[in-house]
């Protein structure tokens, strides 16, 4: 019989792995619009983590900030400046 605790901790591990992949892609991506989208995916994984770590307050504040406001602000910035990062 699988215990609910195991399922909960398994979801934590999966969310952590997802956030790791998304962070890596966000940092190496040259197209900044794609980088922001990867960063939003990473934020979604963190929201799952906050919820499973029994912090509903943080999940509530983190959804609008990290998935709504923050990508929108960076999109405004990219629209006004430049979209591609030059290789360095």
């Amino acid at each position: 019989m699988i215990e609910p605790k195991l399922i909960s901790y398994l979801f934590m591990a999966v969310a952590g792995a997802l956030s790791l992949i998304a962070t890596y892609l966000a940092v190496i991506e040259k197209d900044l619009v794609k980088a922001v989208i990867y960063s939003a995916i990473q934020s979604t994984a963190y929201t799952i983590l906050f919820y499973l770590l029994m912090a509903p307050d943080i999940a509530l504040v983190y959804i609008p900030v990290a998935v709504g406001l923050y990508p929108a602000v960076v999109f405004f910035l990219i629209k006004k400046t430049e979209r591609f990062e030059e290789s360095g």
């Binding site: 307050d57 709504g68 406001l69």
Partner: protein
């Protein structure tokens, strides 16, 4: 240049190894911890406990109780950091406004399609309602001023993107000045609430403190924990209410500034160079 690359790589690997060692030798404590610290037990026992009348905050929400009562002064100064960051943004964008020139503009031609606009019109009241509910029930359920305020700031952002900046500034009359006023109103409310018990104590003539919420052992005065039968937890309800306005108005102000077309900003910068 080559050496710098190696140094970067080495320092990052060293950081990863050190973090792993700290985790392995329980540098962060037992993880996952089967118990919590004594300090946390203190917060959990006293957050809503009528049996210790001089210790409790009378709020079932321990996080809001810490944010606005146990560590209230801390949060007050964090609100000040938030205030200063937005003042800094305002200082960089000084002189760049959209306050005139909206007469001959066909506002309805800007923005996305009619379907999107109609859907947004239905959605925006819902967002505002949910975020107000999050903020006003902050002392009872998960939520509070910060959460509600940042959720409410999504609504003006949607309107800005879907209806264009001109619609917000000339049709809804949400200018920068009105947002600054709303924000100042929220901050004034926070300051007044933090002095409420002190003023009450001075009027009656008993001992009281700044940022006091419930009666304490040597200051027997406090705001009422319940109003008309429903729990408001003294100052916590008012702090959440005013923080909601301060956060929502602050973010809306920044979004309006950020969505002003770049042509306007260039005009202002050129004017500065020529000394106008």
């Amino acid at each position: 240049m080559r050496l710098g690359r190696y140094l970067q790589a080495f320092s990052l690997v060293a950081l990863a190894v050190l973090l792993a060692v700290a985790l392995t030798y329980k540098g962060l404590g037992d993880l996952p911890n089967p118990a919590v610290r004594d300090l946390a037990l203190w917060y959990l026992y006293t957050t809503l406990n009528p049996e210790v009348p001089n210790m409790t905050v009378m709020s079932p929400e321990a996080v809001t109780a810490i944010v606005w009562d146990y560590r209230g002064l801390d949060t007050l100064f964090e609100t000040m950091v938030f205030f200063l960051a937005i003042v800094g943004a305002l200082a960089i964008m000084r002189g760049i406004t959209l306050n005139e020139g909206g007469e001959g503009l066909h506002i309805e031609r800007y923005g996305l399609s009619l379907i999107t606009k109609t859907a947004t019109k239905l959605l925006v009241p819902l967002i505002i309602g949910v975020s107000a509910s999050i903020a006003l029930h902050g002392h009872l359920t998960p939520g509070g001023g910060f959460q509600g305020g940042s959720a409410a700031a999504v609504a003006p952002l949607l309107v800005l993107v879907i209806f264009s900046t001109y619609y917000v500034v000339f049709k809804l009359r949400l200018s920068e000045l009105s947002m600054i006023s709303l924000r100042t109103l929220g901050l004034m409310g926070i300051y007044m609430t933090s002095f409420a018990t002190l003023i009450l104590g001075l009027v009656i003539g008993v001992n009281a403190y700044i940022f006091q919420n419930m009666p304490k052992a040597n200051a027997f005065i406090g705001l009422p924990p319940a109003l008309g039968g429903s729990l408001i937890s003294g100052t916590l309800f008012f702090f959440n209410l005013f923080e909601f306005f301060a956060v929502a108005a602050g973010f809306t102000l920044v979004f309006i500034l950020l969505s002003i077309p770049e042509v306007k900003a260039r005009e202002v910068l050129k004017g500065e160079e020529h000394g106008h």
